[in-house]
């Protein structure tokens, strides 16, 4: 052997191995990834993969049989209820582990452990918002309830039982790509996941932005820009419904006019906000309006569209109940679905339950804060944030007691969310910090048999408040605008409030018996689409300013007019593309366009708008023209007023401009304050249309003027990897249509349940049951969903185990 060549070859080989085994030079350990027996090839699942399994777990109390059908939906038959939750945990982990972990890491402010330093601002903000704090409080509450604790223990044990079976080669793909391993699951993680849903649904606020808007604009202008009454409102509980008498009358603080309704500019900005569009549609029609004579319940939650999907279809069958629907990987039970007696669904309540209070500390040590004229002792929570490849970051957060609640001082001199230096202290009072037992409501609904069971169940839902729709086979329909809502005086919570005495704190919660609801109403249907729960003119408690108007308006109009309704009619309604806002705006646009001032291209596009049927359908160029024009129109109207405004501010909510013009065609803000003359509606509309022509021409030149091409709806992989995502889906819809499909947000589940003697159920979500991008079940539902079609949902019975739809059987024994 020749020594020198040997040493040289050995050195080169060793060098290559080190480089390919780590992320020293390359972004991923390519050696590990490409190795056929260890790497990503192991995740390539053959189309004919056999899921049959015979598994033994001593944690089980009895036998559990799982039948996976041809859509990979598991039908779980358990002798003991908690065993079903064990198996649910096992299956959630088997098919969606990485998603479960990623969501709880993000929720718990641990993104930096995986992403490195770029996750630090997110992590600090989420911890300072009190996400982990809230999850710990919820966990303590859960432990007081033996039934729910046993359910969660079983679920956690099932998830961990699966994690224990993983080897390097069977790790899900994303762990290999990023280079880490899964952790054990715990009840705290289930709590954290549910708090993430609270973040998504019940944490939206614009307090800093509105404070700045109010500091800049006059009181009169502010009320016009951000009205609290909407003329086109068709509330969830119809106008004219007699509501219970108000028992708690919130008192306006004496200093409100001097220190609250007019404040100085603030420099804090939340780093991340939940999507403003997180909402949904739901409705139930009674037998009086259906062809079968039985109620039909429908629900389509609107959330960010991702792969893997937030939802996982499942059937759970135990001696106590038999339920089918969608579940959350991360929590036990069926969340939206039906059982042998009834069906249930949710839309977001959307009320403001997150308010900020300015705190005065004695000095920069933050050891003492001022409250009711005394110095009180601060509590501290020290968070250690691990950062990949760097030193830990230590974040010390002050907690102050506001009323009965210890609240984190989220923004202080060391953290302002944005990139500004901030010298003030703001504590956040978020309803999600309060002890509550959310899993109980789902457990009770899964078991529910009638309206009484539903009524008992819903009052357990405190945060996130939801409009809970319900229907039974025996013919009842109901909807409750449920939540533990703070009872607010008019304007409370819009702006930052002084936090040095009790006068601005929430004075109490709306008593549960005053929560507006409907039960078998005369109009024969109940519905909600995130609009205000009740008539904003007469409802005694303050509801805030930002609620979507148009979907609810369209749904109620259509349902009022329909009779002899079938399940197919409901699927057609759920996928309807009519844009009610455009329907209201188009007449005044057409009436006020100065066609002479448009060039040839402008006239061509204006003709498209004239001929448009106000539907966001596939192939519609008019829809794109309208939307491009509308963006420019809003800018044309408001840009001059906002030209010198603070950077951290809010533009008027969608709908404000339409409502403003419908009310008064000499709408105040049509005037351009930078010019001496007074502009009219026609001036604004024509100018805006002219400005939008260039964009229309550019889109038409590349063949993207059609609505679905312009919108480019996509379902993105959670790590935003395009090759693992579905892009440019051929689907219509829009923010103001019942089919609320936008670019990255839309109906994440569509469900229609007809509660005839033999239940007829349909559902679809844009994803697939498997979270493995290498599986044929990763995205096999996406095309069906995009086409507006549904799958029949199969509530399997014991007798059907030989059905040809059964793909594989998994047996679980103790």
């Amino acid at each position: 052997m020749r020594i020198v060549p040997f040493i040289a070859a050995a050195a080169v080989t060793s060098g290559l191995i080190i480089v390919l085994n780590s992320k020293l030079i390359l972004t991923a350990p390519l050696g590990k990834l490409v190795s056929p027996q260890h790497g990503i090839w192991q995740n390539a699942e053959p189309a004919s993969e056999d899921f049959t399994a015979d598994l033994k777990f001593p944690q089980l109390n009895g036998k559990v049989d799982v039948y996976l059908d041809d859509r990979l939906v598991p039908h779980i038959f358990a002798e003991q209820e908690n065993d079903a939750y064990f198996v649910q945990g096992f299956l959630h982990a088997k098919f969606r582990l990485w998603q479960m972990e990623l969501q709880t890491f993000a929720a718990g402010g641990r993104a930096s452990e995986i992403l490195g330093e770029k996750g630090l601002v997110h992590d600090r903000e989420f911890r300072r918002l009190g996400m982990v704090y809230a999850a710990e409080i919820a966990l303590a509450e859960m432990k007081k309830d033996p039934v729910i604790l046993a359910q969660c223990d079983a679920y956690t044990a099932g998830v961990n039982a699966f994690i224990e079976t993983l080897t390097e080669s069977s790790l899900p793909l994303e762990y290999k790509l990023i280079g880490y391993k899964p952790e054990k699951w715990s009840n705290l993680k289930t709590s954290l996941f549910l708090k993430y849903m609270s973040y998504d649904l019940a944490s939206h606020d614009d307090d800093f932005e509105l404070t700045n808007a109010r500091s800049y604009f006059s009181a009169a202008d502010f009320s016009l820009l951000f009205p609290d009454i909407q003329d086109s409102l068709d509330p969830i509980i119809p106008k004219g419904t007699i509501l219970k008498d108000q028992k708690l009358v919130p008192v306006l603080p004496a200093t409100a006019d001097s220190v609250y309704f007019k404040q100085d500019e603030v420099v804090v900005m939340e780093n991340s906000k939940p999507d403003r569009n997180n909402g949904s549609n739901n409705w139930a029609v009674s037998g009086a309006k259906t062809r079968s004579g039985a109620p039909i319940l429908c629900n389509d939650p609107h959330l960010g569209l991702n792969l893997p999907s937030l939802w996982y279809e499942i059937q759970i069958s135990t001696p106590a109940f038999n339920a089918y629907g969608v579940s959350f990987p991360g929590a036990p039970g069926v969340i939206i679905g039906y059982n042998d007696s009834c069906a249930f669904g949710f839309t977001n309540g959307g009320r403001d339950v997150r308010d900020y209070y300015e705190i005065i500390f004695k000095d920069d040590t933050r050891q003492e804060y001022s409250f009711n004229g005394n110095w009180k002792k601060t509590r501290f929570r020290v968070d250690t944030i691990k950062i990949k490849d760097k030193n830990d970051f230590i974040d010390s957060v002050a907690y102050v007691q506001l009323g009965n609640n210890w609240c984190p001082v989220m923004y202080d001199k060391s953290f302002s969310g944005g990139r500004n230096t901030n010298n003030k202290y703001y504590a956040v009072r978020w309803k999600a910090h309060d002890a509550s037992n959310e899993i109980k409501i789902f457990n009770m609904l899964n078991h529910a048999k009638n309206y009484a069971d539903y009524s008992a169940a819903v009052t357990f839902l405190q945060t996130p408040g939801q409009n809970c729709v319900f229907a039974t086979k025996s013919g009842d329909i109901a909807l409750r605008t449920q939540g533990d809502w703070p009872a607010k005086w008019k304007g409370q919570g819009d702006f930052i409030m002084p936090g040095y005495d009790t006068s601005y704190l929430w004075q109490g919660m709306v008593p549960q018996d005053e929560v507006p609801y409907q039960y078998n109403p005369e109009r024969g249907f109940v519905s909600s689409a995130n609009q205000k729960p009740a008539d904003d003119v007469t409802y005694p408690y303050y509801l805030g300013r930002n609620y979507p108007l148009y979907r609810g308006y369209t749904i109620n109009k259509r349902l009022n007019a329909m009779t002899g309704i079938t399940a197919q009619d409901m699927m057609t309604l759920q996928t309807d593309n009519f844009d009610a806002a455009a329907g209201m705006a188009k007449p005044f646009i057409l009436a006020n366009m100065n066609e002479q001032a448009l060039n040839a291209a402008g006239k061509k596009y204006f003709d498209m708008l004239k001929g448009w049927d106000c539907r966001n359908d596939i192939g519609s160029k008019g829809a794109t023209v309208f939307n491009l024009f509308w963006n420019k129109f809003e800018a044309q109207v408001y840009d001059d007023e906002y030209a010198s405004a603070p950077k951290i501010i809010l533009r008027p909510y969608f709908g404000t401009l339409i409502e403003g013009i419908l009310k008064d065609s000499a709408y105040k803000f049509l005037d351009d304050i930078a010019t001496p003359q007074k502009e009219t509606l026609a001036d604004n509309i024509t100018a805006a249309f002219n400005k939008s022509i260039a964009e229309m021409e550019k889109l038409e030149a590349v063949g993207k003027l059609e609505w679905e091409k312009y919108k480019g709806t996509r379902i993105s992989h959670l790590a935003k990897l395009d090759p693992l995502s579905r892009l440019d889906l051929p689907i219509g819809g829009g923010a103001q249509a019942i089919n609320a499909t936008k670019t990255v947000h839309g109906p994440s589940w569509r469900m229609v349940i007809s509660l005839a003697a033999s239940t007829e159920a349909y559902g679809v979500y844009p994803g697939g049951q498997s979270g493995n991008p290498g599986s044929k079940y990763y995205d096999n539902f996406v095309d069906q969903w995009a086409a507006g079609k549904y799958y029949p949902l199969w509530m399997m019975t014991h007798e059907e185990t030989g059905d040809k739809r059964v793909l594989a059987k998994m047996s679980f024994n103790k």
Binding site: P5, T13, I17, L20, N21, G31, K32, V34, S35, P36, Q37, H38, G39, W41, A44
Partner: protein
């Protein structure tokens, strides 16, 4: 002949090692075969290169749909 035998042996030994050991055991496997079946330097290199190319490249070729 030597080339052919050492080629097959490299593939089999690398495959066997990878069932239990990390991926870079393919380097060890190739080294063992090269020691047991001495060839000229270029042949020896091509044996290992070709064998591992086939072993690792096989999935890519099969997935040509």
């Amino acid at each position: 002949m030597k080339f052919f035998i050492s080629f097959i042996l490299t593939i089999l030994l690398s495959f066997a090692f990878c069932l239990f050991l990390p991926w870079w055991s393919i380097a060890v496997a190739s080294f063992i075969v090269a020691v047991l079946i001495p060839q000229k330097p270029l042949s020896s290199f091509l044996t290992a290169f070709g064998a591992l190319f086939l072993l690792w490249g096989r999935p890519e070729f099969l997935d040509q749909q």
